[in-house]
Symmetry: C2
Subunit: 248 residues, 2 copies
DNA sequence: CGTTGGGTTGATCGACCTCAATAAAAGTGG
DNA sequence: CCACTTTTATTGAGGTCGATCAACCCAACG
């Protein structure tokens, strides 16, 4: 149950090999998705001055619950898990951050949750104070931030329904359909191939299930030809069935 | 399982008998708690012009999921339940709005959930469009809105932990302690007397439990002298025990 | 290779649900 | 105020979904 086991506390903030997507806001591939979309070209240049792009390998801790928040982050590549741990070690994953997601929407002084990388991650780091000052100068940036936070809130409320009132099978279906939609954000088509950078344990801790239950139900769905389990993900076959299971 | 059964769809927006708390922003008792706290005296006067105070009796629908959102509300007295219904009738309550709470933080075009009154409620109604325009003119109001939304998000994340990773007994304890804290907001002392304007069914639908389980565990906690069940609420006796059960 | 982390599968268990009955409270109309 | 209905709360008996415990497989990796 020790979830912090194989995470080094040292933060490897190496410069990013992929120059374009991370160093230059104007050519950033998540520009249209993230907070940055609120800014005009000249303002983007200003934002660029505050941005510190970096890369982090898989299974590294980005920040921890309760810790004072020094930075906010814009994820440009990879996946991050966000979670809370109870004193006795039980864990609840409250979300997965994907490219385009922003960590630190609330700009609160302390982190409400912990975050660590699931894959190699590229991201833009901003000083929380500097970013907060910038937000105070640019109301349209604040508005954007607020809209993103409102959307997060809405997702959190959907997750409450999933956690409180859905069966294990429905949880899995809702999770896969939801993740599929999020991966497809920014492009015009949704793929039936859903990458799963997280472990079964992570999925369980997100859905309020055990690893075994997640594994069993994935196998069941595969046996019933609803999906195929592929390396690092699933291929969805029977979308109608999944839609039915996950429907709001 | 028909949760809409005894709710009239007619919205009784009667003028409020309690003149001071609802008609005049400057003397409003929730002023320090709510969005209004962001405004100076002269701005408050402007807000006042947009405010439509009203009263609504218990068990009335305020607005419904999916419906176009025409108004936002500031609750000044009473309690409101916020919930989502699945196609098959299962219900998840996503929160209870108490005095000082604001409904419509996101200012989205459509309601993400339904709301109905648990008690007689007084509230201030604002046109969503007018309010949104006002927000665009007053960045400090937007900032306030954003802080409140961030706080809501944080509460929603705490609720995810409760729903996903806590036992029934812990859920009840966390619910009671959380509600106690919320009732105490704005005053300097927390009472051990926690009013429960909602039914056991509502509590169950908030915590992902059945009525029976809620009832059984409340009885158990009462039997163990952790609390006393009183009309329309509970009196908490063994705070340490509850704190222990609910601890983050 | 041995080790380690992740995934699957089986057997068993128990926390919470379901179904059912009753009790207590809160209207409602005479 | 009292009979009557409706809603809400409680309690019991029994069932089930997902948890727990345990074994095993497999791929990655030093």
């Amino acid at each position: 149950m020790d979830h912090s086991s194989n995470l080094t506390q040292i933060k490897v903030l190496a410069p990013c090999p992929n120059v374009h997507s991370a160093v230059d806001c104007e050519h950033c591939k998540v520009r249209a998705l993230s907070v940055c979309a609120a800014l005009e070209a000249d303002e983007l240049a200003e934002l660029n001055r505050y941005a510190h792009p970096f890369c982090l390998s898989a299974k590294q801790n980005l920040f921890a619950q309760e810790e004072e928040s020094t930075s906010v982050y814009n994820i440009t590549d990879g996946a991050v898990r966000l979670y809370k741990i109870l004193p006795d070690g039980r864990r609840q994953i409250i979300g997965f951050a994907l490219p385009g997601d922003f960590l630190g929407l609330s700009m609160a002084e302390r982190n409400a949750f912990s975050a660590d990388t699931l894959t190699t991650v590229s991201a833009c780091q901003f000083s929380r104070i500097e970013f907060s000052n910038l937000v105070d100068k640019k109301p349209q940036l604040l508005r954007r931030l607020h809209n993103l936070a409102s959307h997060e809130l809405s997702l959190a409320q959907d997750q409450m329904v999933i956690l409180g009132r859905r069966t294990a099978e429905e949880k899995i279906a809702a999770f896969l359909m939801g993740l599929r939609k999020r991966w497809g954000r920014g492009s015009d088509h949704l793929s039936v191939l859903v990458p799963l950078p997280m472990t079964r344990q992570d999925i369980g801790d997100f859905l309020g299930l055990t690893v075994e239950t997640v594994s069993r139900l994935m196998t069941k769905l595969a046996r019933e030809k609803v999906l195929v389990i592929v390396p690092d993900g699933v291929r969805l076959l029977n979308m109608d069935r999944l839609e039915k299971l996950a429907e709001t």
